[in-house]
Symmetry: C2
Subunit: 242 residues, 2 copies
């Protein structure tokens, strides 16, 4: 019986990857007179991976990687005004309107009062807090947990602090790596709702998925029905064993 | 009777302002051939204040303000290699060894088992987590709360989530604005341990302090004795009223 639902935020409740992709596309345009876009993207991805241990995830870290890559790719010829444009991309990303995915408001509102609802999201504390505030959904969530990574330990520690029985918890998110795998591995429940694109940091080795039954929905609009079915089945199972 | 102690981290448990000041001093050196250091500092402070609503507190935000200010002050003449040096300052700050203040280890160890110990710190999630891990103090703290700001609401919400009675809580920190004022204002307890320098963001209007009795210690080494006296006084008070 599910009593508590944890929602991922970026690309589960609202569009996020779009904001990053739009900034990266402007960035490639800015550097187009120096290099072709594929090469710029390849070098930027490499810088992001190299810098993640220093900068963590988030817009400010991406921006520093963009600036570093611009200097490197132009052999220092990048102009001050172009650097300023890149800092402008950061401000645009940080100020981007929080654009909810289709059906999110209705889906969340339908669950309020029936389940304990939480947001469990990775990323920059300051940035995520302002997004939750701007989303208009803040009041529906009893708890918001912003973490630097989503590992088994992080979920287990959250369960212990929030007094959640793992059998009664359901995680809902677009990332197999962060929202589904670690949750299933500790014997809890997860539903995967894929987003239109997958971030390269979130790709998961298919071997890790072998033998796991992954519940997948096309849209958050199906979540209410899925939960109803699950609780009916649970009740049916109890009946049949009673 | 105090049962739970919350410690601020930066400049209470370990040196932090030093790391920022050293980076800022290198930055002024880097721009010395363009402008005099006082002017550079003034413009950088102005950029930090202007950008705080976008970037929040922390090293990555400071670095973006440094880059922006460098472009502005050099009218775009800043060189790619100099931009790279500034990004290098960010990496240095993020990797700087966690240098405990004198007496911190002994003071904390002496409190373990007698009080419930927590860290309540402002700043960048990723950065603060790695600092707590590197500090070697992580195991002593039952709970670590990383917040984007320290307001009355933030403390009240923490008390409710962690089931802390405000009369039994003591906050220990170097910032009047973040660690002392909001805590006293909600009727809880605080001890101020000033650091060798005060960050300009943390300056507090003296009017707000009027009428408040601020308990102040010169060093964290005096905390154990202060707590002993407080509990003796509390016991004495109970005796005299019994």
């Amino acid at each position: 019986m599910i009593t508590t639902i944890g929602f991922d935020a970026d690309d589960t409740l609202w569009h996020n990857e779009r904001v990053f992709l739009s900034a990266k596309s402007k960035y490639k345009g800015l550097l187009a007179r120096y290099h072709d876009p594929e090469w710029v993207e390849e070098r930027l991805d490499a810088a992001e991976i190299r810098n993640i241990k220093h900068f963590g995830y988030g817009i400010k870290g991406l921006t520093l990687s963009m600036i570093e890559t611009a200097v490197e790719l132009t052999e220092g010829r990048i102009k001050g005004s172009e650097i300023n444009e890149i800092i402008g991309f950061a401000r645009e990303m940080l100020e981007a309107p929080v654009d909810l995915l289709e059906g999110v408001s209705e889906a969340i509102e339908a669950l309020v009062g029936k389940y304990r609802l939480m947001v469990i999201t990775k990323g920059d504390l300051f940035d995520q807090e302002t997004k939750i505030a701007r989303s208009g959904l803040g009041e529906y969530f009893e708890h918001v947990e912003i973490v630097s990574d989503k590992t088994r330990n992080v979920y287990e520690s959250l369960f212990s602090r929030q007094a959640i029985a793992k059998e009664e918890f359901l995680m809902v998110g677009n990332s197999l790596k962060s929202d589904v795998l670690p949750v299933l591995q500790i014997g809890s429940n997860a539903v995967h709702i894929p987003y239109e694109t997958e971030w390269f940091h979130e790709k998961v080795d298919p071997v890790l998925l072998y033998g796991l039954e992954i519940e997948s929905l096309e849209s958050i609009r199906e979540l209410g029905k899925w939960l109803d079915n699950k609780s009916k089945n649970a009740a049916g199972y109890e009946d049949s064993t009673a």
